[in-house]
Symmetry: C2
């Protein structure tokens, strides 16, 4: 990787920072955050502005350019990558290290008195604007919104904003019609006494209208906003996508409908002026509901007295609790995904062991090939992490030609991958050895497995927040002085984003919502030894009611059911470290893999993979 | 209990709320919080103003009186008690119930436009003032400080503020001289670039100067403030307590000292004017360090630009990590405490079983009697919870004549008690049966024990916060659908408050500081069945380094060592529910009780209690 030369670009940016054509008054600093106007985790190429100006294309980072300086804040995952990708116009600010200043402190230290700091008000979330604006103001500077994105003014070959066709999902997939979702949303709005709700997150728009898109890689979403009133529905979306008869039919655009279900379609770019018009029509006590992650531009369009802001929207919470149709879809998707992985692992064993010609990239491609053979396959749900040996210790690794390693019988192989099917989203990690693992490797793998089981088999009261389960996943590792430096699980969408709120399992997530039956999260403890190997065991699990002997205060209990049904390599397990209960868990799990996935392999006539599955699901025998 | 008649008192209060003698402008509402000027958990009789005006004397509650209304906010522990103690001038606001308004919302709903809400600025913590003031201002009202406490103006027989003699603690108890503590504090101040530190919590003043008092029941503290500069020490304290030659010697008041260690003694009441004088002398960038729990009055004395406010003070954090002398003192105190409890339990078995004449109050008194026979005993560390049968299910129960029950062979008995010794503070809960417990009682007890052991034996990385261990205590209960509705542990002082920050073990405590070796907390899971019984098993435990097989990232590991050494009644344990590891834990623990406490019982010639200890520490035998 050679760094991007940014001298000319920075010169141009510094010019537009002072140009009356773009800014009312010159700005002495310009902030380029990572996100898009919807605060998405994954973004479209046209939104990769920070990568364009700096060369650094990791998933997290904020660039700030002043007249003299250019600085990039990113976290520990990306220190090396950012250092490689950026030329020496840039200073790397290593977040999390003690001596690294915050963006605010740094700005205050380098700016001349009374400076203006510019930012695109659509890209910065309202809560972040508030924090930064306050810090700058107290040091005598001003954070100012710059309407035109200054990167876009110098990005001459900026790709177009994607505007791909939409996919309609019928009731057999969604379980609930978009009309009924609107009714439920309006009832939540009535409860909170708000008259309007602004949908800003892309997956929330997609979920609400039972539509999917492909504007952003891995995330089946499309660029749109929606504004829901008690009697009106406005959908802000571009292109001729709504000319598709299937979409028109789905949204009943040409039907005679009760007015409160009539969807008004408006241009994507008109959201701000329409919101301003809504705001102008408000009387006292009429409120507009927004997420605190909505952009500063849209939040500011509603005068403060009329705003009702919450960290999680009612759509985010409703979307997290999957109904029976979604759950069944997720089950189907996971069985198909397991079929693909059985094929892959069987193929790997045949190729790696005798030939040694399979690289991380080849393995990842082969995984995609097997998945794409399955019904309703749409795309991958994230970039496949296919890593062997020391690459496995890089938690967010993605194989590229420069790092591509060949799988061998001497190293541990870690595959973290998943797909979008029309009926569900998958995300699974398996760690395996094609030769003979060392006693130490087996020991570490078994501790990770114990942690995985401790979460998966946990029984806990209704209303428990996921972060209270995180330590269960670490206890066996902690007992031996080991640990892993990431959370244990994240929410998973239903043919939607592979990472979604508002629930999760992490020592960090204290703002998570309580777990309830129907929610779906991942369970993925790991152990990583820098320079040697990485181990992670990940299933997607469904929150289900648990039967318990007693029922304290009538609260009811919950537990998890694994949706992922892919064998866990028994060769890696030190059976003597398992308790009887843990050993039974593995055997029961494998029995279920054999039955459910075996039947599907049989149905699809994949006999060799079926033989592999049967071999890999032989019961463990624990010597007393 | 008959309610206190408050009609006349409320009339008087409403008069002074309008009297120009006490308020600059009339206030339409007056807030009476629970606390004292130091935000203490336990308060002196003269500070029980909320109890005086309302009759409700629980440990938590806030009264608000307006021209028309009188309302009391308290939590679930006190709904019944408050309802009994207050007459019908008062409306009970049940905190935690969905329909109960917050104090701010209620005020906004009942106050006429543009009202003034008064509060004593010494009693309200700065963080609370900020929140309430903001809410009131946004509704057009004003929170105003009322200098003279309005309750005190009508409380004609208000007891005097206590001013009891001081106890000096020498190095053998404290391990560090007050001079060295000042040096360490000044180095923390230099690190944070602050010039002044204001000590407002009573236990922090006591700890800093290695002094103890008895101004507040159960807490060996005295009314005082301190202001520490880089070259000055000011101690604000009343009475002739500093005439005591031992205290003068201890503080070196009459010695020739380097000026930076010369203590200037000032009247308790002069803290505000002295702080204002300090503030007046500050130049830009000179900061004063305060806790965010310091009173609004003291916080406001320092202009905002000069304030450095943190949730935990450096004294709070230093105090929590016990040094070798303190740890040894705590060990000694716990052995003496165990001696007293062995005597008590032996005596109870002899009295309860054949005679049935022991009440909860008699048992509590007897416990105090045995404790008071021990060396360096000072007082109890909290009101003894002595409860049998259904009373055991009331978590904060204290026996009074109206509720006093007789111990019997048919009910579970729960004793939660502790003492202040000059060398340490104890807090221990044991649950026992004097007859034959039912299978169900044993089952519940055993789950609680499993939770107790899970925390006590946990190994976790250095830097782990206590709240991450809370679920370990609940896991066995959760598996059967059971739980308890309180945290698992609190910090414990060293001959200081039995509850202290900044660490703890609770699902609620997300603001806790990381555990480190030398910290001392309680481990006290429980199970309570309303109307039937209560079970709790509590040890005080010391955080110690753990030896582990590996050492990830060189972080080191921690675990707990029980300081409490009182047998856990084996009759209550269902051995078949224990794992081998748990069974060994109990046997090892009992072996240590027998050795350490046995030797002390022997030394004190308490042979009958020694026989009881030996019987109660017979090893459990687990049938495979």
């Amino acid at each position: 990787m050679s760094p991007k030369i940014t001298t000319e670009l920075l010169k141009q940016l510094r010019q537009v920072m002072k140009s009356p054509r773009y800014v009312q008054e010159p700005v002495q600093a310009y902030i380029v955050p990572s996100g898009d106007a919807h605060q998405s985790e994954y973004i479209a190429p046209c939104d990769c502005r920070r990568a364009f100006i700096s060369g650094f294309d990791g998933s997290a980072g904020t660039a700030i350019v002043t007249e003299q300086h250019a600085a990039m804040w990113t976290d520990g995952r990306y220190f090396l990558q950012a250092a490689h990708q950026m030329d020496n116009n840039w200073t790397l600010m290593k977040m999390g290290l003690k001596d690294t200043p915050t963006q605010e402190d740094w700005l205050v230290s380098v700016l001349p008195e009374g400076s203006k700091v510019g930012v695109d008000p659509f890209i910065i979330p309202a809560d972040q604007w508030k924090r930064m604006s306050k810090a700058l103001r107290s040091a005598g500077h001003d954070l100012v919104p710059v309407k035109e994105n200054l990167i876009d003014t110098i990005w001459t070959d900026c790709p177009q904003r994607p505007c791909k066709p939409l996919i309609t999902l019928d009731l057999s997939y969604t379980g609930v019609s978009w009309r009924d979702k609107i009714v439920a949303l309006r009832s939540k709005m009535a409860e909170r006494k708000v008259l309007w709700f602004v949908v800003t997150a892309l997956d929330e728009v997609a979920w609400l209208f039972n539509l999917r898109g492909s504007d952003v890689e891995y995330n089946p979403v499309f660029f749109a906003y929606a504004v829901i009133g008690m009697n009106t529905i406005r959908l802000f979306i571009d292109g001729d996508r709504l000319m598709d008869p299937a979409v028109r039919e789905h949204l009943q655009l040409d039907s005679t409908l009760e007015p409160e279900f009539k969807i008004q379609v408006m241009p994507y770019g008109s959201i701000l002026s329409e919101l301003q018009a809504v705001a102008a029509g408000l009387s006292p006590k009429e409120k507009v509901w927004l997420s605190d992650k909505a952009s500063y531009a849209l939040t500011e369009a509603i005068p403060k007295a009329y705003r009702y802001v919450t960290p999680y929207t009612p759509i985010c919470i409703a979307k997290a609790v999957k109904n029976a149709s979604e759950t069944e879809g997720m089950r189907r998707a996971h069985v198909k995904d397991a079929v693909a992985l059985c094929e892959l692992f069987n193929w790997l064993e045949k190729e790696v062991v005798p030939k040694g010609t399979v690289t991380e990239i080849i393995a990842a491609d082969k995984a995609e090939e097997f998945r794409s053979q399955q019904k309703d396959f749409v795309e991958l749900s994230f970039a496949t992490i296919s890593s062997t040996g020391p690459n496995g210790a890089i938690i967010h690794y993605k194989p590229v030609p420069e790092t591509n390693r060949t799988l061998s019988v001497n190293e541990i192989y870690l595959l973290d991958s998943g797909a979008q099917y029309k009926d569900g989203t998958t995300d699974v990690t398996r760690t395996m050895h094609f030769g003979t693992p060392s006693a130490y490797e087996k020991e570490c793998f078994t501790y990770v497995l114990k942690g995985h089981i401790a979460v998966s088999a946990a029984i806990f009261p209704n209303g428990t927040k996921g972060h209270l389960l995180d330590s269960f996943a670490r206890s066996a590792l902690w007992d031996c002085g080991l640990d892993y430096l990431h959370g244990t699980g994240h929410g998973v969408g239903s043919f939607l984003n592979v990472h979604e709120g508002p629930c999760g399992i992490s020592y960090k997530t204290f703002a998570d919502e309580p777990l309830e039956a129907g929610m779906i999260v991942s369970d993925e403890p790991g152990y990583y030894e820098d320079g040697s190997f990485g181990i992670r065991i990940e299933n997607v699990v469904l929150v289900i009611p648990a039967e318990t002997k007693y029922n304290f205060k009538n609260r009811g209990s919950l537990t998890f059911e694994p949706l992922t049904l892919v064998p866990i390599q028994t060769k890696m397990i030190d059976v003597n470290l398992l308790t009887e209960k843990e050993c039974n868990w593995v055997n029961d799990y494998h029995q279920k893999c054999r039955e459910v996935v075996g039947a599907e392999l049989e149905r699809q006539g994949r006999h060799e993979a079926l033989q592999w599955l049967i071999r890999e699901t032989e019961p463990l025998i624990r010597v007393q």
